[in-house]
Amino acid sequence: MRTSATLWSIALLVYMFLYIPLAVVVLFSFNNSELNAQWVGFTTRWYTVLLEDSDMLAAAGNSLLIATMSSVFSTLLGTMAGIAMHEYKFRLLPALVLAPVAMPEILLGIALLLFFRQVLDLTLGFWSILIAHMTFSLGAVAMIVQSRLTGMDKNVVEAARDLGANPWQAFRYVMLPLIMPAVTAGFLVAFTLSIDDFVITFFNAGVSIKTLPLQIYSMIKVAVTPEVNAVSTLLMAVTLTLIALASRIVPDAIHKFRTD
């Protein structure tokens, strides 16, 4: 089908719109100026500053730790929820699962803040952030797992039960391999959501613990040296690598389990 030049030019403009700001960020990470308002000269010193910035590294470590734990737990719970929604057709569960995903983040962040402080009297910190992240990740994983289950052939599992497998065996040897791509995708989505989350973490982090987005936020508000650009560039590079790996893993996983 012939596609018009107008479509192509608009598309090109949109891509430029998306990428020029990012290019500016990367470029200015090499700017030899502390105030970073105009281009002064080329330097890589901000990257050295970044690697020596213990606050930033601690924040990165926190983000990684929380993201890993959050994705593990929410993948577990989310897979359970996805299976439950598919098998047992609850009326309440889909609403509960979708709500955190569909609401503006600020609402969830505040509801959790109120809950942690008023009911649990919990000091905001690691656990409050972890639980908050799990709450919204759970829904994403559940949705992904459930949609994969709807496309799956039911008879396979029933056949396994007929042959004498108990539910656990049926799950472990039949269902799980079939939904594995969805579980993996869910894990990756949960991980990305968690590591990038700003709003919900903002309300539930307390003072002592900082995640990477929170650290960046405080830097943007106060000290806008090119170090912020440097950390942005590095983050983009890391996430790009992860996405590239993920986009190869998921099709690979599907391929692997289909041929098994």
């Binding site: 990684l64 905001l124 508000k221």
Partner: protein, 358 residues
């Protein structure tokens, strides 16, 4: 899966780094204002005590109170302003000071001891003080022929017209409304809510000309030249001036205390009850009470200094700056913010909401 392994390796590296630094030495947790202590001073203390200082920052007393109320654990030292010290004392959130560990307390100027918020200095020791004033771009204001002595600069439309989109004010109910009260000629301790309503009206009238409410971005904006007039703290303006100078900008920054009067903020070091390093905290406080270290506060960040011993070590240019070390004459015009009763605070809080939304 490769990416998972990579991630775990990275995570372990982070953990290792974190452990290495955390368990190497004792760590003192300091929750302080932005730009309120020089890096050099921190390093000097870290060398002297063979410990680490971990800092967190806030740009507003309310922000600090909110975060601490939400359950901050492990903060050894906070640096609240007088009225906030009073609030913290009433909340029973502070540990009393052990004066025997603070020999250099004798350096304090008598005028700053026994303040209304902490008689007898049971919980607090004065750290530094600042005046909330107006910083401006000298070249721009001269070109526009605007006054540089009064709050009118940020409240009167006839001046604001020339400055549209180039003025920022503090994002603080107490500071901004107090400035308006001073301009109107009222005391900021006045309990008559109708006067505060007038202040609110004054602010709403000027608000369309202001660029933004800003607690800290104004330092950079002034120094770059995006903003020409900013309502802010004296030490922040000092820094903006120095930044512009060292960056070789084609303009200069200056600041003035408006003739109608302004807010004086005395910030104090206090011990939060959740702090773990009481002995180390006392050492730090005593360290900051030494003339030399206290002087570096003034020399490096332009903070007003309540320490008598430090005066001789402060650069003359700074010591003579009436906006940092106000004369007795100017002091008469300065007031410290005091918290009102909850009922009045709620009324003022609602007024602030109106200021934000209208």
């Amino acid at each position: 899966m490769i990416s998972l392994t990579l991630r775990f390796i990275f995570f372990l590296l982070m953990l290792a780094y974190g452990c290495e630094t955390a368990f190497a030495k004792d760590t003192l947790y300091l929750y302080n204002w932005n730009n309120y202590i020089a890096d050099e001073t921190i390093q000097r203390f870290e060398v002297r005590c063979a410990c680490r200082i971990k800092q967190s920052y806030y740009s507003d007393n309310e922000e600090m109170l909110a975060k601490v109320e939400a359950g901050a654990v492990g903060y050894d030292i906070l640096v609240p302003t007088g009225n906030t010290v009073e609030t913290l004392i009433r909340q029973a959130a502070l540990k009393p000071l052990d004066k025997t560990k603070l020999p250099h307390l004798a350096n304090m100027k008598p005028a700053f001891l026994n303040a209304w918020y902490d008689p007898g200095n049971v919980y607090s020791v004065p750290y530094a003080y600042s005046i909330t004033l107006i910083g401006y771009n000298i070249n721009k204001l001269r070109a526009l022929d605007l006054p540089t002595d009064s709050w009118a600069l940020i409240f009167e439309p006839k001046y604001l017209q020339k400055l549209k989109g180039r003025v920022t004010v503090l994002n603080s109910q107490k500071e901004l409304m107090s400035a308006a009260m001073k301009y109107l000629g009222y005391s900021i301790q006045d309990r008559d809510m109708r006067k505060w309503e007038q202040a609110k009206a004054l602010i709403l009238r000027a608000k369309p000309y202001w660029a933004a409410f800003s607690n800290n971005t104004y330092i950079k904006d002034l120094a770059i030249g995006n903003i020409w007039v900013a309502h802010g703290y004296s030490n922040d303006m000092f820094r903006a001036r120095e930044d512009a100078r060292s960056a070789g900008r084609p303009f200069s920054i200056s600041y003035f205390t408006p003739k109608e009067g302004a807010v004086l903020a005395v910030d104090n070091m206090v011990l939060h009850r959740s702090g773990q390093q009481t002995a180390l905290a006392h050492r730090f406080i005593d360290f900051m009470l030494e003339g030399e270290n206290s002087a570096s506060l003034s020399n490096m960040i332009g903070a007003g200094n309540p320490n008598q011993d430090a005066m001789s070590l402060i650069q003359p240019e700074i010591a003579r700056d009436p906006n940092i070390f106000p004369t007795a004459e100017l002091l008469k015009n300065l007031e410290m913010i005091r918290d009102f009763e909850p009922r009045e605070r709620r009324i003022l809080g609602r007024m602030w909401i109106e200021i934000k939304v209208r």
